[in-house]
C-alpha cells in the first residue's frame, strides 16, 4: 500500500515537472529579416482628356509590385473651363481589343480624394473614364492614377 502511494506520488511529481517544463519556456518575439521586405514605390500619372457623350477613354499602366492602385477623378469641366459636379464612371480593367473591359467600376463626382482603390498584382492594367449617361455635351476631365 505504501509502495503504491509512493509510486503514485513519484508519477505525479514527474508529470508536474514535465508540464512545467513544457509550458514555462522563455518566449521570444518572432524575428524576421527586414531586408526581405521591398518597400512599395508609387508612380503617379495624370490622365486628362475630353470625354464625349456616351464615350469611354482609358489609360494603360504597368503595375510592377502587388499593391494598392488608386484613382482620383480630380476634375470634370466644361470645354470652357467651368467646374462640374456631374458624376461619371471610373474603373479598372485589363486592356483588350480596342477598349478597357472593366473588372471594377463605380460612378462618382469629381473630388480631391481617391474615389477608388483596388489591390492589383503586377501586370498591365487600364484605368477608364466613361459617361454613364449623365453628359449632355463633351467634358474635360483630369484623373490621377497612383500605382506601385
Amino acid at each position: 500500500m505504501r509502495s503504491s502511494f509512493a509510486f503514485v506520488a513519484r508519477l505525479g511529481l514527474l508529470a508536474s515537472v514535465l508540464v512545467t517544463g513544457a509550458s514555462c519556456n522563455t518566449t521570444t518575439a518572432p524575428s524576421f529579416d527586414n531586408s526581405q521586405i521591398t518597400p512599395l514605390v508609387f508612380t503617379t500619372q495624370t490622365f486628362a482628356g475630353s470625354l464625349p457623350v456616351n464615350g469611354s477613354l482609358f489609360y494603360s499602366i504597368v503595375v510592377t509590385q502587388q499593391g494598392p492602385v488608386s484613382l482620383m477623378l480630380a476634375a470634370v469641366q466644361t470645354p470652357g473651363g467651368a467646374a462640374l459636379t456631374t458624376p461619371v464612371g471610373i474603373g479598372v480593367g485589363v486592356p483588350a481589343g480596342t477598349g478597357c473591359p472593366r473588372t471594377q467600376s463605380q460612378t462618382t463626382p469629381p473630388g480631391l480624394a481617391a474615389q477608388m482603390t483596388v489591390t492589383l498584382n503586377p501586370g498591365t492594367y487600364c484605368a477608364a473614364v466613361y459617361d454613364v449617361g449623365n453628359l449632355s455635351g463633351a467634358v474635360n476631365f483630369a484623373m490621377r492614377i497612383t500605382y506601385p
Binding site: 500619372q45 490622365f47 482628356g49 477613354l57 482609358f58 489609360y59 494603360s60 504597368v62 485589363v94 486592356p95 483588350a96 481589343g97 480596342t98 501586370g123 498591365t124 487600364c126
Partner: protein, 147 residues
C-alpha cells in the same frame, strides 16, 4: 549471314539510341520543344476606320510566350484597295497609346508583314497613317498570337 544480322541489330540499336536521346520517335517529338514553338495560335481580326494621319490600336493578352505575326489583310480608301503604305506595328499599351517597338510600313497583302517575340503579358497591335492616305481608310489587320 550471322555477321549481317549482327550489323543490322547493331545499327538498329544505334539508331534507336540516337532517336531516344534526341527525343524523337516514329510518332513524332516525345520531349517538349522550346517555349512558344508548339503553343496554339489565336488569330484575332482587328478592323476599323483609320482617319487621315490617325492611329488605332488593339490590345491582346499572351499567356504563353511565342511569336506574334501581323498581316495587313486589307486597306481601302473610298471602297477601293489602296496602294498607300500604312504602318503597322507591335508594342505594349502605355498611357493612351500603344508604344510600338517593331513597326513597318506596308501595303495590304496575304502574308504576315510584321512579327516579333511576345512574352507573357498584355501586348498591342497598332496601325497608323504616316501621311500617305488621301482619305480615311477602312482596314483589317489579322493578329496571330500565341495563347
Amino acid at each position: 549471314m550471322v555477321r549481317d544480322v549482327s550489323i543490322r541489330v547493331c545499327l538498329s540499336a544505334t539508331l534507336l539510341t540516337v532517336l531516344a536521346v534526341s527525343g524523337c520517335s516514329e510518332l513524332g517529338p516525345t520531349t517538349p520543344q522550346g517555349p512558344g514553338i508548339n503553343n496554339p495560335i489565336v488569330v484575332k481580326p482587328f478592323s476599323g476606320t483609320l482617319p487621315l494621319k490617325g492611329v488605332q490600336f488593339y490590345s491582346f493578352t499572351v499567356t504563353t510566350g511565342g511569336t506574334t505575326m501581323l498581316t495587313l489583310v486589307d486597306a481601302k480608301e473610298n471602297g477601293v484597295t489602296t496602294e498607300a503604305l500604312i504602318t503597322i506595328g507591335l508594342g505594349s499599351p502605355r498611357g493612351t497609346q500603344c508604344l510600338a517597338s517593331n513597326v513597318l510600313s506596308v501595303k495590304s497583302g496575304g502574308k504576315p508583314q510584321v512579327s516579333g517575340p511576345t512574352g507573357k503579358g498584355v501586348h498591342c497591335a497598332v496601325i497608323f497613317d504616316p501621311g500617305n492616305l488621301t482619305s480615311e481608310a477602312t482596314f483589317l489587320v489579322n493578329i496571330a498570337h500565341p495563347q
